[in-house]
Amino acid sequence: MAVIGVARFIQQRQDFEDSIARSYQTEMAARVRIAQGTGGKAARVAVHQQIRHRSELRDQISGDTRDTALLVAAGLIAGLTGALLLFSGLISSMRRPLEELVDAAGRLAAGDRSVRVEVGGLSETATLGAAFNEMAAELEIEEGRRDELDRLKDDFVLTASHELRSPLTSVQGFAELLILERESLTPKQVETVEVILDNCRHLVRLLNDLLDLARSDAGRLLIKPQPAEVAPLIEDVVRTMRAQTEAGKQSLTEEIQPGLPLINVEPARIRQILVNLLTNAHEYSPEGASIGVSARSLGAEVEIAVSDTGPGIPQDQLERIFERFTRGDAGLTQRVGGTGLGLAISKSLVELHGGGIVAESTPGQGSTFRVRLPVAAAVTSDGGQSRAAAEAS
């Protein structure tokens, strides 16, 4: 309609200009006759007629222009409305499948591999939907396979570590029997049995660590947290470690802030973490080094820090220290009996408790491992309201 309007407008404009030109020609001819004195009254009338005629033409053309403009405007509005209607139809026919796709993609990303979309609508959205379904189906199969492999791996590790325990019990038990008869053994024999026992203990640690990791991977590493006092936990671990640190002529000190709140933990697991950290501090530090355990209240958490004055950990190793089978400097590793799994497990365990663990180190000066654990209830170990709990409430 707008195009018709514009075409009509151009035609009208041309007609108008032609008419105006003709009118001027007629007027000029009349004026020539007047000037020549041959026109007389008729010529003067003709001049006035042409002036009037042009005025009429102008009125008419402005009226026509207005009409045409209105026509063009109406055409434009009608066209726009039509386009809008067409568009909204198009958009709504695309919108629903797209919304469904967005929703399905979200669920797929969140782990629901069984999600599928209805394939329909425009050919583009239908193609997109079909492609999405194909991808989801492949992911589902892939994940099924991976789950199955994971299950097999976890079962294998669980069974293996379980089955290895019985023979290990015998080897360790009989080696211990020999050591009990120490007086009737030659020094060489005692040394031999000590080696067997050392390796038994190492195997046990390896088995326990592997089992913990397999459980952690399978989501089967579970803890039963209960309110526990911090000080006895640390004192117990320090007592256990004392023999080893004394053998290495290392000092082992504890510094526990008085009146710490109870923490919500499984004590055996916290003991395991602290033994891991202290064993590392002991094994990686030279003779005469200082090892310290400290505990302090930190808002709604208690921080237990294990620090040593050992060789420290270079920055590049520090970043990967909580990864599996990552160990410190190879030169030291030779005499270090760890499994390379201790820190990875410690991290899993701390996080299972809802806490966190970080490592800090200045190479040449020592390392500090900080474990943060959540406070249990609003009661301190000596019975009063804890400062942390009071602040929290």
Partner: protein, 119 residues
């Protein structure tokens, strides 16, 4: 001195247990599975303590203890488990068990526990 009935399907473990417990002065009887434990008790055996492996063929230590308890026996019983943590797999909560021992066995701890239960 107290009599301890030890049940394990591994002869090596039984030999180890017998040796260590006899060294500590206990009288030791052994059984190869849970059924043998029940048979001995039925035959009039009255051990002062049971040391039962959690998993044995024919009848597990747990099942044997369950039957003994059902029959009214209150003999102290320790369960030996190859699981790392007692609560992992084979720890029934509805059964009166006096303690868990995990493999490999810490004999110092085991002897301490036995001494406390047979005192």
């Amino acid at each position: 001195m107290a009599t301890i009935l030890v049940a394990d399907d591994s002869e090596t473990i039984l030999l180890l247990m017998r040796t260590r417990l006899e060294m500590a002065g206990y009288t030791v009887e052994t059984a190869a599975d849970g059924q043998e434990v029940l048979d001995r008790v039925a035959d009039g055996g009255s051990p002062d303590l049971l040391l039962l492996d959690a998993m044995m063929p024919r009848k597990s230590g747990i099942d044997a203890l369950r039957e003994l308890r059902a029959a009214g026996s209150e003999v102290p019983a320790l369960i030996v488990s190859a699981h790392q943590n007692p609560g992992d797999a084979d720890a029934p909560t509805d059964l009166a068990i006096n303690g868990y021992i995990t493999k490999p066995i810490d004999f110092d701890q085991l002897l301490e526990t036995i001494a406390a239960l047979t005192a």
